[in-house]
């Protein structure tokens, strides 16, 4: 009898476990945006006494009109969205994702175009940065058919020979100092036209953001970008 009870408990657990499938269901006309992690997705972030931990990048995904007007944020990583940086010494890290910040265009009392702890981004579009590749589902409403999807990614303290930690404010390669960005954020973009029969798009690297986060401009000169190119392997958009 007791063995029967135990077998029943075990089978119930297996059934319960089997029901825990993928959480997101995709249907016809949904858009699946997939970011595939590259070799540099996880980056050593220094804590203290030489101790480091592997940090995933900060990411923003948003949509603009064909004319370049900001429409909607799709996803933003938790730390920048809630300003919950660790070891930042009150630096709000304007250099983290400046192109998204300026495109969104919401300026706070301190003059920065960043969310604040008091006014973080909406919870439904911010989340813990995944340790690996991940997908986002987008479903257009109100007959939106043509738009540009932009993705901005960046690591903190991702220094290289050009964007080094000893650069001084106002230098071309200054990226926020010792706890700053290092290599600037990279921006990927893809034009989506739902009126065409295309079902597969790939986002292209269009440039890097302002290294010190002082503007929302993009520079097409990628000659000093090294390992940051490998944060993302590819970004695929499928129309289902």
């Amino acid at each position: 009898m007791k063995k029967m009870v135990l077998t029943f408990i075990y089978l119930s657990l297996v059934c319960l476990c089997s029901c825990q499938n993928d959480l997101i269901e995709y249907r016809h006309e949904d858009i699946k945006l997939s970011i595939e992690k590259g070799e540099a997705w996880l980056h050593d972030f220094p804590l203290f006494l030489g101790i480091k931990f592997k940090n995933p990048p900060q990411i923003a995904i948003w949509v603009e009109s064909i004319q370049g007007e900001y429409l909607s944020t799709i996803y933003v990583s938790h730390k920048i969205a809630t300003q919950s940086w660790e070891g930042n010494d009150n630096n709000r890290r304007k250099e983290a994702l400046p192109h998204w910040c300026y495109s969104r265009g919401i300026q706070h009392n301190d003059g920065l175009y960043l969310p604040t702890k008091d006014k973080p981004l909406i919870d439904g579009i911010s989340g813990a940065t995944p340790k690996g590749s991940f997908d986002v589902k987008i479903h257009p409403i109100n007959n939106v058919t043509r738009f540009v999807v932009k993705i901005e990614v960046n690591h903190s303290t991702d220094f290289n020979e050009f964007y080094n930690k000893s650069a001084k404010a106002n230098d071309e390669n200054y990226s926020g100092g010792k706890q700053g960005s290092g290599q600037p954020a990279l921006v990927y973009a893809v034009d989506i036209d739902l009126s065409r029969d295309l079902t597969f798009y790939e986002a292209e690297l269009i440039g890097h953001s302002s290294p010190d986060g002082s503007s929302g401009s993009i520079s097409e000169d990628l000659s000093n970008i090294t390992t940051a190119r490998n944060i993302v392997k590819n970004i695929i958009i499928k129309i289902l």
Binding site: K2, K3, L6, I9, Y10, L13, V14, L16, C17, Q20, D22, L23, I24, V63, L71, S72, I74, Y75, H78, K79, T82, S84, E86, I122, D123, G124, I125, S126, G127, A128, P130, K131, F134, D135, V136, K137, I138, H139, P140, I141, N142, V144, F147
Partner: protein, 177 residues
Amino acid sequence: MKHIILTSLALLSVITFIKAEEQNSFSFSTTIGMGITMNTPSYHSITWQAIGYYNPTERLSVGMGTGLSFYEKILIPIYGDINFQIGRERIITPFIELAAGYSFALSKDAVGGCYLNPSIGIQHTLKKRMKLHLALGYESQNLKRVKKHSDEYFLKEFEEQLSHKSISLKFGVISKF
């Protein structure tokens, strides 16, 4: 992976049951606890747990536990547990404990994940068959949930993968049968 964990837990429970029947050496523990978060996104969890033990020796207890864990979503952990008492039994006896298993989410828009909780603590004898139990440990709990938002242009959905790391504090009682 989940099936391996579940099979191991089922085997452990069968062995515990059979051995306990032979020697009639059961104990039962129930604890409440909290987790002080060490990561972001942060969430201070609250837990209630119940564990049935078999005591093969005076110092060693093995058993199975379950309960409720309150994170962003409510989880039901199912886990195996080993408790080793350090030294002979006194009024206050130190112990080390390891709990490992899998947690299930009750909500449709969430999935649980692996659960791990090594801890150290003390047990204080209250009566012949009852002890107070206080433990300090490290807790790791994985969890996935859906996040949604819509505005005038788009409906957006993504799966957030959370890996909660916390300092766990637990307080409860152990009864011997």
